[in-house]
Amino acid sequence: MNILVCIKQVPDMESKFRIDASAAWFDTADLAWRMNEYDEYGVEQAVRLKEQVAGADITVLSIGPDKVKETMKKALAMGCDRGVHITDSDVSRRDPAEIAGIIAEYARDKNFDMIFTGMQSQDRGSGQVGVLLAEMLSCAAVTTIVDFSYREGRIEVKRELEGGIRASVALNIPALVTCQLGLNKPRYPTLPNIMKAKKKELLSLPVEDLRKLESRQQTARIYFPEKKGGGLVLEGDPARLADELIQILKQKTSILA
């Protein structure tokens, strides 16, 4: 089985973000970087699938500047077999269709049986790359999966819906799934596997060779939303204040129905 996992390197979400000079993205200086959380579920599920299916092979792919290789090494240490690094210093400016197009261009003739992506990236959060990629490769896609099983060329997944409902979906491979929180608990790379990862193949391809689609959208600006309203200070005699508070709680919250 030929498996592809697409991962993205994103800032640690506990970092202090600052908007950069272009106002279209954040300043990347002084940020700590890590693997997009949802992609980590994808890597883990791919490795579990490989452990189940003899002879399975996992390619992990990422787009970005040289530093994304650090994150790719983590995926290799978790159990992926080889890496494909698409070198691109402008990745943060590309729209989801462009990103999906680049990956599709790489993947088109590789006959991947299963593709795992995160359901969205933590920094841009468009949630489009996975489904666009599936469409471009003409394979089935299921989004936001929280459970995955494979048997004889067919996968069964569970999707998380609103209202506490789940949907069970079955489909044949080749297929693409986008992974949601709760799918699994990603393993830690072990120290011996970190050493082994160093020797795994990590191919670099320039983005120019794979970029066939033009951008369809641009982010006009990013910004911190204005803080709305402050605290409400009630003044007056206690009995009236109590009535007033009850009214507010009824109107603005569900504490008092």
């Binding site: 640690d12 506990e14 002084d30 650090e70 983590k74 072990t190 120290l191 970190i194 050493m195 990862a197």
Partner: protein
């Protein structure tokens, strides 16, 4: 990854910018490594420490181990955390590949360990003891002992302890009475009581290996008659399976002030006269072997003390930045918005004091670990020798100084939080309680002082002491040309002379008045030399900061400015203490020596 109890930026500074740890990869033993593998490994340590160690630090403190039906029960999070630690490979990381390790440099190992120590000092104590015990078996055990006991110790099936102290003999190991009787089968039967044995009994692992100091019947009195024994809780069959219980009984648990997640036990060996034990190495050399373990353990204790101080510092820093309180003295308007605590100069003093202590202690601890790597694997024999000498003389300081001053840092962290800091709702009081153990265990700081002045200063005809002075002089010479550092190089040079003079005067006393007078003020000597060493370490950090400052921008520039300011604090507020301390020592002050019991 951002974690509140640890400063990765400072770790990178010490590890890479000050010590140049990447250069170790040019040594044959570490050739498979690179900065990339170091960083990836540190990242795993951060993740496990945050998710599995820090998460139950408070719970372990509030729920100390208890005996239920004769078995020690520990909250389940401890076993789970150690499981992740072990599965990741941290127990075996520094060992050779054929033992399941990855030959990770000791300095990187200690850097990883420091994260776990900051996250949860009591849970990491179990692997800490196991690693130390495994190191002794690897260094001095027979091939059969290594084959039978090392694999389970390196994969987490078996934990280790060190059993030295007895109810009547703590610091004075010469007075231990646990005895070992040889048997025709070649092993020994052990009998005696041990006290304060951390990790002495639990269900965290299948088995426990106690490394026990005892006397073979008929051995000479004193420390020259002490041997080291390997005593499993359950006997181990030749095929590795577990056999009978080995007559090691828990007679009670100790209820401690801090480190409460680490079970502390009183153990009875051989109540039924069937405690099978195995001699490690040769008879009567037990203390030498144990000190092999103790020396690395002492560096670990110093690092632990630095990390508890560090975690308190980071917490109080965050608190001071976010807690509005009062107004500056120049602002007389009671309606004005209060400023954050950090705006008050006296709060900044307390923060600077903590920063100077904990970042100094941290750099010293990693430097000592780097010396271990150099001593073992540097290709140049002279470098190996010199680093060994530095390690010898610095070990008591690396253990004692951080455990004394890390605790003082914790004091200031509580002070910054004020009344809140004194409550159990905030972590700083736990850090203080946990850290209070460090001046006591692995040889009290009083013992460290005697070790420094009584053994290390005079060893090899003073070679280790001279090597230390030479190393400090080298740093002074290198830093002299930098205008920003000029004032401090002069001050360190003076302090160096002061310490050298006091040492010479003390050595003269040794010849004239004997060892009692010579060692009378050993603790003060340790403190004075400790301050000299810490000032040296700060000058080294400041030199790096100076070099890097010019090309740095943004947060890096602020980081380096912070280094220089903390160095300034240490040189202005702390280093001058060595001069009056030296005065007391040179005067051969007899105040403590002459004090009589019935005058108290």
């Amino acid at each position: 990854m951002t974690i509140p109890f640890f400063d990765r930026r400072n770790m990178n500074f010490v590890l890479y910018e000050m010590l140049g740890a990447e250069q170790l990869t040019s040594y044959d033993y570490y050739r498979e490594h690179s900065r990339e593998t170091f960083d990836a490994i540190i990242e795993v340590a951060e993740q496990i420490a945050r998710e599995h160690f820090h998460s139950h630090n408070v719970k372990a403190d509030k729920n100390e181990p208890v005996m239920i039906d004769g078995r020690v029960t520990i909250i389940p999070e401890v076993k789970e955390a150690i499981g992740h630690f072990t599965e990741a490979g941290f127990l075996a990381s520094h060992h050779r590949e054929d033992l399941g390790g990855i030959q990770l440099p000791w300095v990187v190992n200690q850097a990883c360990f420091s994260i776990f120590q900051a996250a949860n000092i009591s849970t990491v104590a179990y692997p800490f003891l196991t690693i130390a015990a495994a190191n002794v078996i690897e260094a001095f055990g027979s091939e059969e002992q290594k084959a039978r006991y090392l694999p389970p110790m390196l994969d987490g099936r078996c934990f280790g302890t060190m059993a030295l102290t007895e109810p009547q003999a703590g610091s004075s190991l010469a007075d231990i009475t646990t005895t070992a009787v040889p048997t025709p089968e070649g092993h020994y039967l052990l009998r005696g009581n041990k006290m304060f044995i951390s990790g002495g009994e639990h269900e965290l692992s299948e088995n426990i290996v106690h490394l026990v100091l005892a006397r073979i019947v008929g051995a000479p009195p004193g420390v020259k008659g002490i041997s080291l024994f390997l005593v499993p809780r359950y006997q181990v069959n030749p095929d590795g399976s577990l056999g009978e219980h080995n007559d090691v009984a828990v007679s009670g648990l100790l209820h401690k002030m801090g480190y409460r997640g680490t079970v502390s036990t009183a153990l009875n060996f051989g109540e039924n006269n069937r405690c099978v034990s195995y001699l490690i190495g040769e008879p009567h050399k037990g203390l030498t072997y144990m000190f092999h373990m103790m020396n690395e353990a002492r560096i670990g204790v110093g690092m632990g003390a630095a990390m508890l101080g560090y975690a308190g510092y980071l917490y109080s820093l965050d608190y001071a930045r976010t807690r509005p309180q009062g107004r500056l003295p120049s602002n007389k308007d009671p309606q004005a918005r209060p400023v954050m605590l950090v705006e008050h100069t006296d709060v900044r003093r307390m923060l600077l004091q903590q920063k100077a202590y904990v970042e100094g202690a941290y750099a010293l601890g990693l430097y000592a670990a780097w010396l271990v790597d150099q001593h073992k694997y540097a290709p140049d024999e002279q470098i190996r020798k010199n680093c060994g000498l530095l390690l010898d003389i610095l070990t008591p300081i690396v253990k004692a100084w951080p455990s004394e001053y890390g605790l003082k840092a914790n004091y200031q962290a509580i002070q910054i939080l004020g009344g809140y800091g004194y409550t159990r709702e905030y972590p700083v009081e736990q850090y203080y309680r946990d850290n209070r153990l460090n001046p006591i265990h692995e040889g009290t700081n009083g013992i460290q002082a005697i070790d420094l002045l009584g053994r290390k200063v005079t060893m090899f005809d003073g070679a280790a002491f001279k090597r230390l002075l030479a190393a400090i002089t080298e740093t002074i010479e290198q830093a002299k040309s930098e205008p920003v550092l000029k004032e401090w190089t002069g001050q360190l040079d003076q302090a160096l002379t002061t310490v050298e003079t006091a040492t010479a005067a003390l050595l003269e006393t040794l010849g004239q008045e004997g060892i009692e007078t010579y060692l009378a003020n050993a603790s003060l000597y340790l403190e004075m030399t400790g301050h000299l060493v810490l000032a040296w370490i700060w000058l080294r950090q400041a030199s790096v900061a100076c070099r890097r400052m010019e090309s740095a921008s943004g947060s890096d520039q602020k980081f380096y400015r912070g280094k220089l300011q903390a160095c300034r604090y240490f040189f202005h507020w702390e280093l001058p203490k060595v001069h009056y301390q030296s005065q007391i020592l040179r005067n051969m002050d007899r105040t403590c020596l002459d004090m009589q019991d019935d005058w108290f």
